[in-house]
Each structure stands twice: as structure tokens, then as C-alpha cells.
């Protein structure tokens, strides 16, 4: 029986994505490969042996040399403040992975052939979906894809410029934002939490045999999944990943 081993990754770059969110780019020499949607477990050990462990989605696509983890700083969190405030380039962290066989998108899987993708993210839930979007762009996959992305404000949109750039160059990818708390002047898109009406307007029709992936805060994920069922999506076509509480 093979077992995932804990391995060390070195921080080669830290990127401030938004005020509360950083991406850690890691060099993990013993890394094999992964599928878009999978995650790693990160384990921190204090000097007295105390350990804390959390899961983080891999935001980088399988073909990238380095692993990217995107971390939202949770107030009163035990692990995220360490990763966003303390960790420096050159530090190492312990992780194991890739983990996950359910919340994954593999374009080479014949079951996915011809299926349009509906990706719904809340906040830092964008991370695993970004791995999918990046992988899709790198492999010139043209599966019609829509991303519905909920953020608190314009400044809180993670990977905003990259998403603009990728979608500008690819007519088969459409990115739809909703900003729930504050909107800039002349904002033309949605201004509220994701609800049934918004999903009815944005989601692929069930007859198109779409696959939906939704990740982010637990409340958002459950709302989206329930509404997609109401709109006629089959349960087996909706994949969910709950991130727990957010830094709100």
C-alpha cells in the first residue's frame, strides 16, 4: 500500500494577491504530479512538538514547476496567520499530497468530454478552480467554461488581472464577478451574494450536460449546490468543497 509521505517545500516566492490573501510559491523537490482540484495538507510543528495541520488547495496547474498555495489570513486562525505573516522566502514547510479524488477535473477523462464547466467560487475558494482554469489555458482546452466568482470588493478579487487576461484571450472562457460588499464606480456586474436568480442567469442549462465545481465558505457552497439542484442539475454533476469559515 502506498502512502503519502510528509515532504518539505521551500518558499521561493510570496505574492500578495489581495490585502488578506497571499500566494506561497513552493519548490517541492520530491513532488510527483497532481490533478487540478487536489489539495495538500500543511503541517506546522512548534519547538515543543505541538502540531497544527490544515488543508490548502493547489492553485497551480500540474504542468507548473512550482506548487502554489493561496492562503487567506483568518483572524484568530492558528495556521493561516503563520503562513501569511511569519513565513519568509527561504523557509520550508511540511506538506503531503496530492490529496483528492472527488473534487478533481481531468480534461483527459473521457467522462468529461464535451461537458461545459460551471465553476463557482467564493473568496479563497477560487484556488482549486484557478488550477483548473490555468490547466485548461495551458492545454488549449476549449471546453466552454464559465466562472462565477463572489468577492467582497474589487480589491479582494484574487488573481483578478490574470483572470482578465486569460478570458480576454479565450472566447470559450467567461468570467462573471459579483462583489457583495463594495463596488467601484461604474460597476456593471452583480452586487450581491449568489442566489437562485443569479445562478439561473449564469449557469449552463442542465441539457448541456455541464459539470459544476463549487468551493469556498461552507454557507456559499451549500447555497450554490442546493440551487443548482433546483435548476435541474443532477447531483452527480455538482462537486463541492467546503472551506469552512472565512476571515470575515
Amino acid at each position: 500500500m502506498t502512502q503519502l509521505k510528509w515532504q518539505l517545500g521551500t518558499v521561493v516566492e510570496i505574492r500578495q494577491e489581495t490585502p488578506k490573501v497571499k500566494s506561497l510559491i513552493l519548490d517541492v523537490p520530491d513532488w510527483t504530479t497532481h490533478l487540478a482540484g487536489q489539495h495538500v495538507d500543511v503541517r506546522l510543528t512548534a519547538e515543543d512538538g505541538y502540531q497544527a495541520q490544515r488543508s490548502y488547495s493547489i492553485a497551480s496547474p500540474p504542468e507548473d514547476k512550482y506548487l502554489m498555495l493561496t492562503v487567506e489570513r483568518i483572524e484568530d486562525g492558528e495556521v493561516s496567520p503563520y503562513l501569511t505573516d511569519e513565513l519568509r522566502v527561504g523557509d520550508r514547510i511540511e506538506l503531503r499530497g496530492p490529496i483528492g479524488g472527488y473534487f478533481v477535473w481531468n480534461p483527459r477523462d473521457r467522462k468529461n468530454e464535451g461537458s461545459p464547466l460551471f465553476l463557482v467560487a467564493g473568496g479563497s475558494g477560487i484556488a482549486p478552480l484557478m488550477a483548473m482554469i490555468r490547466h485548461r489555458a495551458n492545454s488549449q482546452n476549449k471546453a466552454p467554461t464559465k466562472l462565477l466568482y463572489s468577492s467582497r470588493s474589487y480589491d479582494d478579487v484574487i488573481y483578478r488581472e490574470e483572470l482578465d487576461r486569460i478570458s480576454a484571450n479565450d472566447s470559450s472562457l467567461r468570467v462573471i464577478h459579483t462583489l457583495t460588499r463594495r463596488q467601484p464606480q461604474n460597476w456593471m456586474s452583480y452586487e450581491r451574494r449568489i442566489d437562485l436568480a443569479m445562478l439561473a442567469e449564469t449557469a449552463w442549462q442542465p441539457a448541456e450536460k455541464p459539470i459544476a465545481f463549487t468551493s469556498g465558505p461552507t454557507a456559499l457552497v451549500e447555497t450554490v449546490a442546493n440551487h443548482l439542484l433546483e435548476l435541474g442539475y443532477k447531483p452527480e454533476c455538482i462537486k463541492t468543497e467546503r472551506f469552512g469559515p472565512t476571515g470575515d
Binding site: W6, L8, L44, T45, A46, E47, G49, Y50, A52, E78, Y82, E86, L87, D91, R92, I93, E94
Partner: protein, 209 residues
């Protein structure tokens, strides 16, 4: 085995124990000022109109109280230290409720000495087992207030069992009653590797300790 990797600069949640307190903290524990919430399932939300507390089992008597009846029983406030098997201890916690001695008053336990154990059962299906001797003589309560306020649902409200001399998983949240039995039977955690008794001072965390 390879030397354990230490994450530079990682401290984790505060867990320092002042020297003077060491005798109040069982071996392997650290003091916390928080009140962590650990749950084996979703928080039940039984409305008080439907809540009741029963005592039944392998003896002659059956007892039951509605919420109003329970609230009218003699109550006391106690200050105790609590110790969780996940290593945190919280000192001087204040609870108000009904002593288990009061609840067992209506049962002639002396006439039924073979009935030596109780299984606490709870909303959501959680159970834990205890020797009767460990809930009698002022050692246990069914409490509905913490720190002078109604017990919050995530901490076990409307009422939970409180047995502070044992690890805190024995202080079953959302308790709805006791089944009194002749033969001990491991409860929810006891049946998957946690110690059947759970004395923190003997560090009885796991089966076989």
C-alpha cells in the same frame, strides 16, 4: 526515524502553563483561556417544549422531567477545572445545574446493587459510559448554565452532563438522559480507542492506558 522538522517561528495557540498552576494541570495538559468547541456531529436544536430528561433501564424505576420540571429542581453553582483529552485544560469554569445525586434520588439504588453503570444518551446520538459510583456523591451534574448564562448550543445547551474528574468527553453535550445498566458498555469514543474510564490524573486517554 528522521528528526522532526520544526516550523521556524510557529508558536500555535497559547499553551503556557504558569508554574504555580502545575498541580492543577494533569500530566500532558496545558492551560487554555479559550473554550474550544469540539463536536462529533451537528449542533442539535431541540426546542425546550420538546426537551425532556429521562432515567430508565435495568431497574424498577422510570423517571422523567420536562424542561420546566427540571428547572424547578434544587440547583447549585460549582466552579471546577475541566480537562480535554486533546490536551487543553480550563481552570475555574463556573456551571449551574442539578446534581446527579438529586436526579437519582427517586431510584432505590441500594436495593439494586447489580446495576452499576450508566450510559448517558444525547440528542444527535452521542453516548458515553460511566460507573454509577463516578456520578454520585457530589461528583456530577446536569448543567444548563455556564458562567451565569444559559448554556450555548455549541457548548451543549440546553443541558449537558458535567463530570469534571474525568476527561471532558465524558461530560456529554446535549444530554437527554441516563440508561442504568448492569453491564458496562463503551460509548461513542470509548468504542473507537478512547479509554473506558478516562482519569486525567492517571493520563488514561486511550484504551490500554
Amino acid at each position: 526515524m528522521a528528526e522532526k522538522f520544526i516550523s521556524r517561528g510557529f508558536k500555535g495557540r497559547a499553551r503556557e502553563t504558569a508554574r504555580a498552576l502545575k498541580e492543577r494541570i494533569p500530566p500532558g495538559q496545558y492551560e487554555t483561556k479559550d473554550f474550544p468547541v469540539l463536536s462529533a456531529g451537528p449542533t442539535p436544536r431541540t426546542p425546550l417544549e420538546r426537551w425532556d430528561f429521562s432515567i430508565y433501564g435495568e431497574m424498577a424505576e422510570d423517571l422523567k422531567w420536562t424542561w420546566d420540571e427540571f428547572r424547578k429542581l434544587p440547583r447549585e453553582t460549582v466552579t471546577v477545572d475541566i480537562h480535554c483529552v486533546t490536551k487543553w485544560s480550563k481552570l475555574d469554569t463556573v456551571w449551574t445545574g442539578v446534581s446527579v445525586d438529586t436526579l437519582l434520588k427517586g431510584i432505590n439504588l441500594d436495593a439494586q446493587p447489580a446495576v452499576g453503570y450508566l450510559i448517558a444518551f444525547c440528542d444527535g446520538g452521542y453516548t458515553t459510559n460511566l460507573p454509577l459510583a463516578d456520578v454520585r456523591g457530589g461528583k456530577a451534574w446536569v448543567v444548563d448554565e455556564y458562567d451565569g448564562r444559559p448554556l450555548a448550543p455549541e457548548h451543549g445547551g440546553p443541558a449537558r452532563l458535567l463530570v469534571p474528574h474525568l476527561y471532558f468527553w465524558k461530560s456529554a453535550k446535549w444530554v437527554r438522559g441516563f440508561k442504568l445498566v448492569r453491564e458496562d458498555r463503551p460509548g461513542f469514543w470509548e468504542s473507537v480507542g478512547y479509554h473506558n474510564y478516562g482519569d486525567p490524573w492517571k493520563e488514561q486517554r486511550y484504551t490500554g492506558d
